[in-house]
Structures are given as C-alpha cells and as structure tokens.
Symmetry: C2
Subunit: 432 residues, 2 copies
C-alpha cells in the first residue's frame, strides 16, 4: 500500500488537532483512499515532548532537516501569520512539496504569489481550513457549484464575533462585558482586534470572492466595520423592528463591479443566517443555476479545523495516488482566467438603514433630523422615540427606506453637527 | 483544448435542465476546467424538436447509434425509474463510458450491481443529483468530511412533503387540500405516493448512509412512514409544545448497529432544520471530528438538479483530463471495505412521543389511558385535554418522556381496544 508522508509545521491548536485527526482516523482514511497517510515529522520553534500517541514522531527544530527530507509528500503549515509562514510555504513549494495551510491572513494577502509558485512547481496548495473552520466551503465553490456563476455570498465567518453578538442578544449584556467573559473562556484572544473589528472576516471574504468570481481581491478594498460600537439598546430595538444583528460579510456580483463589505447588519428574523448563533459560521451562496444554498458548521476549533485540514491532505493524497496533481485549480479558475474586477465604491451602494440618534429633549428635534434626511433623499419608514434616559438624552431610532451610502454620510455629518445631537449617530445597515 | 463529449438520455425536466446548464455555462466551465464540455447527442423515446439553442445537437431514438458513438466520454441518464434506466447505464458502463445519473430509486436499489460493473470497467458513476437536488451533499460525504466517522444524519430530503407540511403549518389547512394545490402548481405529482409516504426520502437516506458508513443498505429495512395522517390539530398542538412537524430522515451510528428511519417528527422550534420551509432540503451531519454541519438548498427543480448533474460531469471531466478515473471511490469507501451493517430493529429504539387520543367524553378516560401507559413503562411529561369537538369526541394530547418503541406499540394496541377510544391513536416521534 502506498504511503503518503506528512510534515506539520506548528503544534498549536490546529496543528495538534490535525495530528490528532490523522492519528485517530488512520484506518478510516485508508478505507476511503487506499493509502496510508503518515505523520512523519513536526517542525516547531522550541523542542518539546508530544502526547503519547505521537511519541514516535520526530519533533524537529532544525528547518533544514525538516525541509530536506525527500520522503515528505505534503507539508502542512499551521503557525498562522505572514512570516515565517510565507517563507516556509515557499520553501516547501520550491522543494516540490504539496502544501496545506489554514492561514487566511497569508492566503488573502499573498495568495497570488504563493499560487504562482505552486503552478510553476506543479504542486498543490490546499486551504480549506482557512475559511469557516470545518465547513467544506472552498471545495463547494471549486467543485460542488462549479457550474454556477456566483451571484452573491453572505457569510457569518468569525465565530468569536458571532458568539459575542449572540451573548449580547440573549443576555442583554454590553459588548465589553461579553468580550471579557469570552476571553476568560478562551473564545476570544487577548487582543481581539482581528475578530471584533471584522478584519478576519474580510480576509475570509476575500478568499471566497476569489473562489467565486475568479478575481484577485485586494482586502483593503473591502469596506470593513466591526461590532465594538453595537450597544444592547440597538439589539433590543432591532428586535422590535424584527431583526437580529450579525457581523455579515456581503458580496454581490454586479457584473461590471463586485460589491464587498463586512459590517454589522440587521438581518430579518426569518432569514436562515439569523438563526446562526454562538461560535458557528455559515455561508449563504446564490448561484445562477442552483439558487440558494447554505452551509453551516463550526467556524473554528482544534478538531473541526483539523477535519478541514485533513480533508485537504486526503484530497491531495488522492491526486498523488492517481498522478493527478492540480486536477482542480487552486484558485477555482485556471490562472489565466483570474482577472481584476472593480470593487464597488461603498458610496455607490444602497440599502435601508437603522439610525439611532442621541438627542437633547427639546421640541422640534425630530423635525430637524427628518428635515435633513429628507433633503438628502433619505426617506423614513418608521420611528421609535423613547423616553428620556438617566443622562437626560432621548434616543430616537429610525428605519429608512433604501438609501444611498453617499447621501447617508452627508446627512449624518449635518445631523451630528446639530447642537441638539449629543453623540455620534449609530448607523447599522439593514439586509434586504 | 481537450473536448469532453456528453450524451444525455432523456430530455424531461432534469435532462433539459442539464443541457441548459452545459449550454449557458460553457465558457465558465472552460475557465474552471480548461476543457470544452460539449453536448454531443440526446437519446429520447420519441423524436422531437428541441429548443433553438440545441438545434445542432442530434436527437436520437436509435439506441445502437447513441451508445455506439465512440466519441462519447460521459453518458448522463436522466429518465428515472428502474428500467430501462438500469439497462442503459449498464450498457454505457460495459462500453467503457463514464456515467452520471440523478436516479435515486435506481442507485438505492441497484447501486451495488452498478458500482461493481463500473469498477470492472474502470469508469465512474456520478450521482450527486440523486439526493437533495442542488446541494453538494454526496461530495461532502466523499471528500469534504472524508476524515470523519459519521455519527448521525438528519435530513429533510423531499421537497414536496416539506412544502405540504410548511403550507399546512402556515395556513392551517388539511393535508388533502394542500396536496391538491401542490398538484395544481406542479409541486406534487399526480400520484404523490413516493413523496408523501416517505419512500423517496428512504431511497435518499439509503444512499447517504452508504456514503457515510461504508455499508450496503437494504431500503426495505428503513422504517418508513409518510405524512398523510398528520392533521392540522397535530401541527397546532405541536406548536404549543414548541415543535414543528417535519418528514425527517434519521440515521444514527450506534457502532454495532445503525439506526435508520423516515417518519414525521416533531423538531424543537430552535433546531435549524425546523426553519427549513417550502420545497427546500437540508441535511444535518454530525462528524466525530468536525461536529455539527448542515447543508441547505433546493431539493429539486430543473436548474438546481441540473447544477448537481453538471458538477458530476465537471468532476469526471477533470479526472479524464488528468487520467485520474476513479480517484474517489463511487461509494466513498473502497469497495473491499463496504460492509453489511445491522439496521437497528425499530422496536429497540427509544424517543419521546406525542400521542393524540380521540375519546368519548366519559369520566376516567384519562385515568384509563395513563394507567395503560404506566404499565408499559411510558411516563407522561405533559397533557393537553381540550373541550368536546363537534362530533362529540374529546382529543387528549400527551407528550411522553423517552419511551421504547416496543412498549409504545403494545400500549397503543391496548388503548385502541378501549371502547372509549373511538379512533386510531395519532403517534408522532419527538426529536431529541
């Protein structure tokens, strides 16, 4: 029986999870592939003792020895971040090794360079684990929906942010308090910026857009807004309007240009994505042939991401066994068909909005605000004005009809300049 | 550029949908595969004129001419049913042609024979379109979750039945009336037996079980019950208990034996599958590594199923281009590892139950019924007793704690023999 030798770089959460999957499922994987997939070596920064089941796997700190092993078929990078991950991956590729990674920051930033090097060396790069944890979403774009022009992608792609919003929704607690608990429980990092500011979600959306549309994506062109400014009152009032707040990645294929944004968004209660709670992820795809498809599952975690990384290892192993390397293009389209596409400037987009104004309890406040909105072509669908808060201010909440982002920006600038408006306007997009 | 030639058998809903997908997406498919996929011929029973876009595709009624074309790479069977579909598929396989089909009845009944013939001739058989329409569920089992021992499968796999239950739920209408409308709208067949009696769902569950567990499945061993006896009152009272009724395919991997059943089932309101409405399908999978994954999408339809059939065509084409035929085993496991597994006898299973008793308005009815239940180890969790109906009977509705199917059967037999019980007991399983 053919043996496929795996070398793993990094033995943190996902690295040890992947090793565990390969160990625990060795027999199952052989039954499915006809090959023996063997963890042959592990490269780490600092020498250490591994759990018993891996006691016969050499743990190396010597990069030359690790990369120089001619018997390795696939090198699996699971340290994350840009460097040294990028150098390791390029070294593996130049040494004619196939690569598997779960590194979304690297793939979204340097994918073009990495995939070009892989093509030159006729090796594969698998990255199923980089988006939406255990959900086989990359494979779905590349293969399952390969006969579809993708019309839109909606994603809940960050488990930490979704967990925080779910807890805020269920318990009525403020952001900072939920974040603290999440950190204590290990659901959020000490520095949660990437997760709560939407950056991680934007990286993942960029990867999905490449798969979907055959385009190179500059992550910085994706308008990205986090959830740190969401307050319990917005969640409560959103509920009264029939919505739930989610940190939503949205991309729509407008043909000439592609919409792409990551923002807290009010989703109608009866939308399937509104029911995705806790650390789970989900991706809703509209294909021109298939219609609406949704994939849901764990967005992170040792074994769930290990499952996705192992799926890539199995995929590449099947190709090695059949001499079919690069049977499916890394980028879902052949490299010569990957094209630049214009990202729609945010100012050109339209959607209904939720606004919360913090105002002084003076007559004609509502008239002034709605007057400004009207002059900027923003029409109000409904208003909730509540009583005075302890600090003497009055919150006014509005839901608008579909309005242009550029108009909204100008209107809110004028409104925030009013003396009767005492805090920045809270603005949340409503999904339609 | 390499050309892959396709021959389609049948030009009904799915046949014409598949032809349309290949036609409309020709350029896209080339960009993804590097090949030209060409519809070269169509075999039909009666000669006819096709829509303009297919005017240059020969429509044949001569089987020998169709199967004898040495240039065909893949033959796509889309006529459904056992014969002549089976003979056509075997003829294609014996002629060394790859096969794609969406025929769940055939695959679930004769898969073993068909896959053995395919292995002998080193050709592939794709059947993504046979389960859950456009959802890439077969690929997910074979590849995306290949590193997982599957612990359970829950599925809403029949769009017609789900549409009928959704309409009954939303509009409070009786089964017969909704069925009639569904037939008028073309959502249900003139003879709806397969859909509403759970037979179609059982076929699909059998296919998924083979993919998941590496077992041969005898469809007749799957306990199958339809939705024809569900009444609006059960939907209403189910709601009061916090449930929704779905025609659910359930399979659990108990190691030594495998649970498999298709039954109307009360699902908790907050279960994701409870939110799957109308003609949509969804499959919830629990993998030992990945945890909970759900796939949702259109369960049928010309273009959605066409998308799945085209995905198989693309998959096989990619294998042809790389000389990697049978890169993934048709059955998800290598044939030598497909094993018989015992299906759990229904009498051994346990779950909570919903019972609706139709009784005369006499004293001690409740005492008699609950006495019998108690003697059979069935403990009641809650009871709703409503007022007399127009026909003078009184409905008593109960939710039980987890109870053994064998006990339930015996108890209900005794209860139905009581003179005060005037109609068969309605019994619906509650999902836990």
């Amino acid at each position: 029986m053919r043996t496929i030798n795996i070398g793993i770089i990094g033995f943190g959460t996902v690295g040890s999870g992947t090793a565990q999957v390969l160990h625990d499922q060795a027999e199952l994987i052989t039954k499915r592939t006809g090959a023996k997939i063997v963890l042959k070596s592990i490269l780490v920064r600092t020498k250490r003792v591994l759990p018993d089941e891996f006691s016969d796997v050499p743990v190396m700190v010597d990069e030359d020895a690790f990369f120089g092993d001619p018997e390795l078929d696939i090198i699996v990078e699971l340290i994350g971040g840009i460097e040294p991950a990028k150098s390791y991956i390029l070294r593996a590729i130049n040494g004619k090794k196939h690569v598997v990674t779960a590194n979304k920051a690297l793939i979204s930033a340097c994918g073009v360079e990495i995939f070009a090097a892989a093509a030159e060396n006729n090796v594969e790069v698998g990255f199923e684990g980089s988006v939406a944890g255990g959900i086989p979403i990359i494979k779905t774009f590349k293969e399952g929906l390969a006969a579809n022009r993708i019309e839109s992608i909606l994603g809940i792609l960050n488990g930490t942010a979704n967990y925080i919003l779910s807890e805020m929704t269920n318990k009525g607690l403020p952001f900072a308090e939920v974040l603290k608990t999440a950190q204590d429980l290990g659901y959020a990092e000490a520095d949660p910026t990437y997760d709560v500011e939407g950056i991680d979600t934007a990286h993942k959306l960029a990867i999905l857009m490449t798969m979907a549309y055959g385009m190179e994506v500059d992550v910085s062109a994706i308008t990205t807004e986090g959830i740190t400014k969401i307050e319990p009152i917005d969640i409560t009032l959103g509920k009264e309007f029939g919505y739930r707040i989610k940190l939503l990645a949205v991309s729509r294929n407008h043909g000439e240009h592609i919409e792409a944004r990551v923002q807290p968004t009010l989703l109608p209660d009866d939308h399937l994505l509104a029911a995705v709670n806790g650390p789970f992820n989900a991706v809703h795809i509209k294909g021109d042939m298939v219609g609406d498809v949704l994939l849901y599952g764990p967005g992170a975690g040792k074994m769930a991401t290990g499952s996705a990384v192992a799926a890539d290892i199995i995929d590449i192993s099947r190709n090695i066994l059949h001499g079919a390397e690069n049977r499916v293009s890394c980028l879902s389209y052949l490299p010569e068909f990957i094209q630049p596409r214009r990202i729609t400037p945010i100012a050109e987009l339209e959607c209904p909005f939720y606004f919360r104004f913090t105002t002084l309890d003076k007559p004609s406040v509502l008239a002034k605000i709605s007057g400004i909105l009207g002059r900027h072509n923003i029409s109000i669908e409904s208003v909730i004005q509540q009583g005075q808060l302890d600090d003497g201010t009055v919150p006014i909440v509005m839901r608008t009809h579909s309005s242009c982002e550029a108009d909204v920006e100008k209107a809110l600038e004028e409104i925030e300049a009013l003396a009767i408006v005492t805090a920045p306007v809270v603005k949340i997009r409503i999904f339609v």
